[in-house]
């Protein structure tokens, strides 16, 4: 590896207190174990939130965290780890007993559904036992942005449940938007509302299923955007990144509407065989292109310009350039 590529891939990390990293790793392991032993608790959101927090804390390059406990290094006590593990065991037992009391509970906007959702998020609660309250206050002050990013991941990452809940309403908006655009090129196109709206054309009829909702594009965007945020964390304009995240989600939904419109237009202009055989792969190509186009537009606005480093000190002759010398 050349010095240039080493510099390009440099990781100004590992400044985080080991105890904080250990606490997050413990949380990740315990949450995964909870979900393994009681599948009712399964949700990828707590895993994503912990992973995002861990990676961002690890990537943090400044020394703000050095002064969390003054001269005393931050440590995890065995008593607190035991308490943490006991809390997880208690949580598992409670969930199993609730499952016996409330059989057949599934997700949804009902009391039982909310209880189930709360139990899935509650797997993160025992982490609070790993440090005293005073230390948590100091950690919250130092790692405010990392914590906020983790919360964002917890509630918005891979939003299958949100999309499933909104689908009856959103499918109508998507169907109508697609019809409005595609009708400019396929005048005979008619709209048939329903949970899965159908657009009937002269050569090809298209039914918009849940899998066409754009959820795949959103998931792709979230994973790639998270990758960028983790890599750029130390020079990222956090407020702009937050705005760009939500604008990007919206952009992927718009891109999805455009994708379906293009499939309908092509399918009704002699390419129905291609559309039927290749629409899934074509969708991924389209979503990749949409993400890269969006990133190309916003990237430079998200990054704090780099200040030139004086790693190679200037020579005296470089500094004192006499105008008469040349």
């Amino acid at each position: 590896m050349t010095s240039r590529s080493r510099s390009y891939l440099r990781f100004e990390s590992l400044r985080a207190p080991q105890a904080v990293v250990a606490a997050l790793l413990l949380t990740l392991g315990a949450v995964a174990a909870d979900q393994f032993f009681v599948p009712t608790l399964y949700s990828s959101s707590p895993l994503w939130a912990t992973t995002v927090c861990l990676l961002l804390v690890w990537r943090r390059s400044d020394t703000a965290a050095d002064g969390i406990l003054g001269e005393r290094p931050l440590k995890l006590s065995r008593a607190r780890i035991s308490l943490f593990l006991a809390a997880h065991a208690g949580l598992l037992l409670t969930t199993v007993s609730l499952k016996t009391l409330l059989p057949g509970v599934t997700g949804g906007f009902t009391s039982a559904g909310w209880l189930l959702a709360a139990s899935k998020v509650s797997v993160l609660a025992p982490t609070l036992l790993l440090f005293p309250l005073g230390v948590w206050r100091k950690l919250a002050r130092v790692y405010t942005q990392e914590g906020f990013a983790a919360l964002l991941a917890l509630f918005t990452f891979l939003p299958t449940r949100w999309m499933e809940a909104l689908w009856p309403w959103y499918s109508q908006i998507l169907g109508r938007s697609v019809q409005a655009f595609a009708q400019l090129f396929v005048p005979a196109l008619t709209y048939h509302p329903g949970l899965t709206p159908t657009l009937v054309g002269s050569e090809l009829d298209v039914t918009i299923l849940y899998s066409c909702s754009g959820i795949n594009g959103i998931e792709l965007f979230q994973l790639l955007f998270a990758f960028m945020v983790i890599l750029e964390w130390n020079r990222l304009r956090k407020d702009r990144a937050l705005a760009a995240y939500f604008a990007g989600l919206l952009a992927m939904l718009v891109a999805n509407a455009l994708r379906i419109s293009l499939l309908i237009i092509l399918g009704n202009h002699g390419f129905s065989t291609f559309v039927l055989g290749s629409h899934i792969s074509a969708g991924w190509i389209f979503f990749s292109a949409a993400f890269l186009t969006y990133l190309l537009l916003v990237y430079r606005h998200l990054i704090i310009p780099e200040v030139p480093r004086l790693s190679d000190p200037l020579s005296f002759a470089d500094i004192v350039q006499s105008p008469t010398a040349g």
Binding site: E219, L220, L224, S281, I285, S288, F291
Partner: protein, 65 residues
């Protein structure tokens, strides 16, 4: 932009995925390679992640060069 050929190769792979996944009749063309919709989706997702990630890294390199 030394990694451009790699990026182009990845894009080509992604674009060729529909050919791998052609929904031909298996009895008519038994020698054709067939994969189902779920496999196409997984393959497409993986390829899209690689293409998107590589595109971002190239952009990052260009901006910080």
């Amino acid at each position: 932009m030394k990694k451009l050929p790699l990026f182009v190769a990845l894009l080509t792979f992604l674009i060729l995925t529909p050919c791998l996944a052609s929904a031909d009749d298996h009895e008519k063309h038994p020698k054709h390679h067939h994969i189902n919709a779920t496999e196409v989706s997984v393959l497409g997702f993986a390829a899209a992640i690689i293409v998107g990630g590589t595109g971002y890294l190239l952009l990052r390199r260009r901006k910080h060069a």
